[in-house]
C-alpha cells in the first residue's frame, strides 16, 4: 500500500492542474500579447507538471490494484468529483483581474520554488526527478510574476489600488499551503515528503521583499481559510470541473 505516496502525488498534481486551468482561461484575453503568451506558458508548464504527477499516481494505483480498471492521468483528472480534489483553495478562486491573477501566481510560484528545491532531494526518485525538471520552469514563473507584482504595485495609482484589493482578496488563502494535511505529515514521516511548515519563513521573506519593492503593504496576520487539501473546497471548484470534465463525462470510455 503506497497510499501516502499516491495521495501526496495527487495533491501536487491537483494544485498544478487547477491553476493551469484557471490561467488558461486568460489565453486570448490578456492585456498585452507578450504577457498573454507568458501566462499561457506558465499554464503549459503547470499542466506538464500535473501530468507527470498524475502519471506517477496512476502507475502506483495500478500496481496496487492490478485487477481494477487501470487509472490514467486522464481518469484522475477527469473522473474525480470535487470532494476528491486536494488542491489548495487559492488555485481554484476565480481569476479576478490581471493583477489578481499575477499576484496569485506569485504566491504560488514562491511556494513551488521552495518546495521543488527541497523535493529534488527527495528519497522518492520519481518525485525528485519531476521536481528537478520543474524547478527550471518555476524559477522563471517566480521571476516573471515577481516583476509584474512590482510593476503593478509601483505603477500608477490605479494599478496600486488594484493590487491592494487583490492582496485583500487573496491573502487569507495563502495560509493553507503551509498547514500540513494528514497526507503531508504521513509523507514527511515516510521520508519522501516535504514539511510545508519548513517552507513558511522563506516564503514570507520572499513575499515581504517583493511586496515592499512593489510599495505594497504586507497584510497583518489574519484568519486563514483551509479545507482544500481535505476536499472541502469553495463553491467555485464544482463549476471548474463541470466545464473541464464535460467531454470525458458525456462520452464515457471514448478515446480522444
Amino acid at each position: 500500500m503506497q497510499q501516502t505516496l499516491i495521495n501526496y502525488s495527487l495533491y501536487l498534481a491537483d494544485n498544478s492542474l487547477i491553476l493551469a486551468q484557471r490561467n488558461a482561461e486568460w489565453c486570448g484575453h490578456g492585456p498585452i500579447l507578450e504577457q498573454d503568451i507568458a501566462l499561457t506558458n506558465i499554464s503549459l508548464d503547470l499542466l506538464g507538471q500535473a501530468r507527470s504527477f498524475y502519471q506517477y499516481a496512476a502507475q502506483l494505483i495500478n500496481t496496487d490494484n492490478p485487477s481494477a480498471t487501470p487509472a490514467s492521468e486522464d481518469s484522475l483528472a477527469y473522473l474525480r468529483d470535487v470532494y476528491n480534489f486536494r488542491n489548495c483553495l487559492i488555485t481554484e478562486l476565480p481569476n479576478g483581474d490581471w493583477g489578481q491573477t499575477i499576484l496569485r501566481q506569485f504566491f504560488f510560484s514562491s511556494w513551488q520554488f521552495l518546495l521543488y528545491q527541497q523535493m529534488k532531494l527527495s528519497s522518492d526518485q520519481t518525485l525528485a526527478a519531476i521536481a528537478e525538471k520543474s524547478l527550471k520552469e518555476v524559477t522563471y514563473h517566480l521571476r516573471w510574476s515577481s516583476e509584474w507584482v512590482i510593476r503593478l504595485g509601483d505603477g500608477t495609482e490605479e494599478s496600486h489600488n488594484k493590487m491592494t484589493k487583490a492582496l485583500e482578496e487573496l491573502w487569507s488563502f495563502t495560509g493553507e499551503i503551509f498547514e500540513p494535511a494528514p497526507f503531508e505529515k504521513a509523507a514527511v514521516e515516510a521520508g519522501f515528503g516535504i514539511d510545508p511548515v519548513s517552507l513558511k519563513d522563506a516564503w514570507m521573506q520572499k513575499v515581504t521583499e517583493i511586496l515592499q519593492e512593489a510599495t505594497l503593504t504586507v497584510p497583518a496576520p489574519r484568519w486563514m481559510q483551509t479545507g482544500g487539501k481535505e476536499g472541502k473546497h469553495s463553491e467555485h471548484l464544482g463549476f471548474v470541473l463541470a466545464e473541464m470534465q464535460f467531454l470525458q463525462r458525456a462520452y464515457p470510455n471514448a478515446t480522444w
Partner: protein
C-alpha cells in the same frame, strides 16, 4: 533620382527576386498594400485564437489540452511576428490594434464561425490551418523581406498544427458512432468556409493584379484553392469521411478535383459583418483590450519611474 527611376529600380529588384527591405525605397501603394495585408494577417492570428481558445478549458484529455494551449499560444506568437513586420513599415502596433478594435481593419472571415464541438478543433486545424498554410507557403517567397521571413517562421509551426488537427479527426473517425458523427458534422460545417478563405474568384479580387506584379502574391486565389481541394479530397479518404459537395469529383483530364459552386452570398455576407460571431469576436477582443488598459499604463509608468531613478543615480 526621380520617382520614375526609383520605381524602375524597385521593380527590377523585384523581378530579380531581390527582397525589399525596410530601409529601401518603395512605392507608397506597395507600402500601403503590405500594411493592409500584413496587419490583416496579424489580426487573423489574434482573432483566430478565440474560436480555438473556446475549447481549451474543455479539451477532452490533458494531452489534447496541452497541445491546444500550445497551438493557440503559437498563434499569438505569429501575431507578434507579423505586428513586428508592420512596424518595419512605419505603422505602430498600437495603431494597428486600434484599427482592429474599431472595426476598420479586417481579419479572415473564417474566424466568425463558432466552434461547437471538439470536432471543430480538429476541423479548424486540418482545414483552416491547411488553407492558411498554402497561402503562407506562397508568402514565404513574397517580395518584402520582413514579411517573407515572418512567414517562414510561421510555416514551420503551422504545418505541425495541421497535422494535429487531422489527428484529432482521425481519432474521432475511429471512435464511437457519436464521435464519428461529430467528426463528419465538423467537416460539413467547415468545408465551404475554408474554400472561401482563398478569397474571391480570380478576376473578382480587387487587389490581386498589382500584388502579382509586385510579387507580394505569387499564386492566384483560384490556383491556391484548387491546390487545397486536391489535397483535402485525398486526405478525407483516410478519415473515411466525406466532403459536403456532391459535385466533387476527380477530373482525369485536368488532374484536378472539380468542385461545386461556392456560395458567394454567404462569403460577402460574413465579410460585411453578418457572420455568426463577427460581433462576438470583436466585442471579446475589445473587452480584452479595454480591461488591459490599466496594465499597459502601469507598465509604462513603472518603466518611466525606473528610468528616472536610474538617471538620478547616475547624476548623484
Amino acid at each position: 533620382m526621380s520617382v520614375q527611376e526609383l520605381e524602375k529600380i524597385f521593380q527590377q529588384k523585384i523581378d530579380q527576386e531581390i527582397k525589399i527591405e525596410p530601409k529601401d525605397w518603395m512605392p507608397d501603394a506597395y507600402r500601403k498594400t503590405l500594411v493592409r495585408q500584413i496587419s490583416q494577417h496579424a489580426h487573423s492570428e489574434i482573432i483566430g485564437m478565440l474560436p480555438e481558445g473556446n475549447w481549451i478549458t474543455r479539451a477532452p484529455s490533458l494531452k489534447r489540452k496541452a497541445i491546444l494551449l500550445a497551438k493557440v499560444q503559437d498563434e499569438a506568437g505569429h501575431g507578434l511576428y507579423l505586428y513586428a513586420a508592420t512596424e518595419t513599415l512605419g505603422t505602430s502596433r498600437e495603431q494597428t490594434m486600434d484599427d482592429l478594435i474599431s472595426g476598420k481593419a479586417k481579419y479572415s472571415s473564417i474566424f466568425n464561425y463558432p466552434t461547437l464541438t471538439w470536432g471543430d478543433i480538429g476541423a479548424v486545424g486540418w482545414l483552416v490551418d491547411g488553407a492558411a498554410i498554402l497561402n503562407q507557403v506562397m508568402l514565404c517567397r513574397t517580395s518584402y523581406g520582413p514579411y517573407s521571413r515572418a512567414n517562414i517562421r510561421i510555416c514551420k509551426e503551422e504545418s505541425f498544427h495541421q497535422r494535429q488537427g487531422f489527428e484529432i479527426l482521425l481519432v474521432l473517425s475511429q471512435g464511437t458512432p457519436e464521435q464519428k458523427a461529430i467528426c463528419q458534422d465538423a467537416i460539413n460545417r467547415w468545408w465551404w468556409p475554408s474554400l472561401m478563405m482563398f478569397g474571391p474568384k480570380d478576376g473578382e479580387s480587387t487587389h490581386s493584379e498589382q500584388s502579382t506584379i509586385w510579387k507580394i502574391k505569387r499564386k492566384s486565389n483560384d490556383e491556391l484553392r484548387q491546390q487545397f481541394v486536391n489535397m483535402i479530397a485525398e486526405q478525407v479518404k483516410i478519415l473515411g469521411m466525406t466532403l459536403p459537395d456532391p459535385d466533387l469529383k476527380y477530373n482525369e483530364a485536368t488532374k484536378n478535383y472539380d468542385f461545386g459552386e461556392i456560395d458567394w452570398n454567404e462569403f460577402w455576407n460574413v465579410v460585411k459583418g453578418n457572420g455568426p460571431c463577427n460581433k462576438q469576436r470583436l466585442d471579446t477582443r475589445r473587452k480584452a483590450h479595454e480591461n488591459g488598459a490599466w496594465v499597459r499604463a502601469a507598465a509604462e509608468a513603472h518603466a518611466a519611474k525606473r528610468a528616472a531613478r536610474k538617471q538620478q543615480q547616475q547624476v548623484a
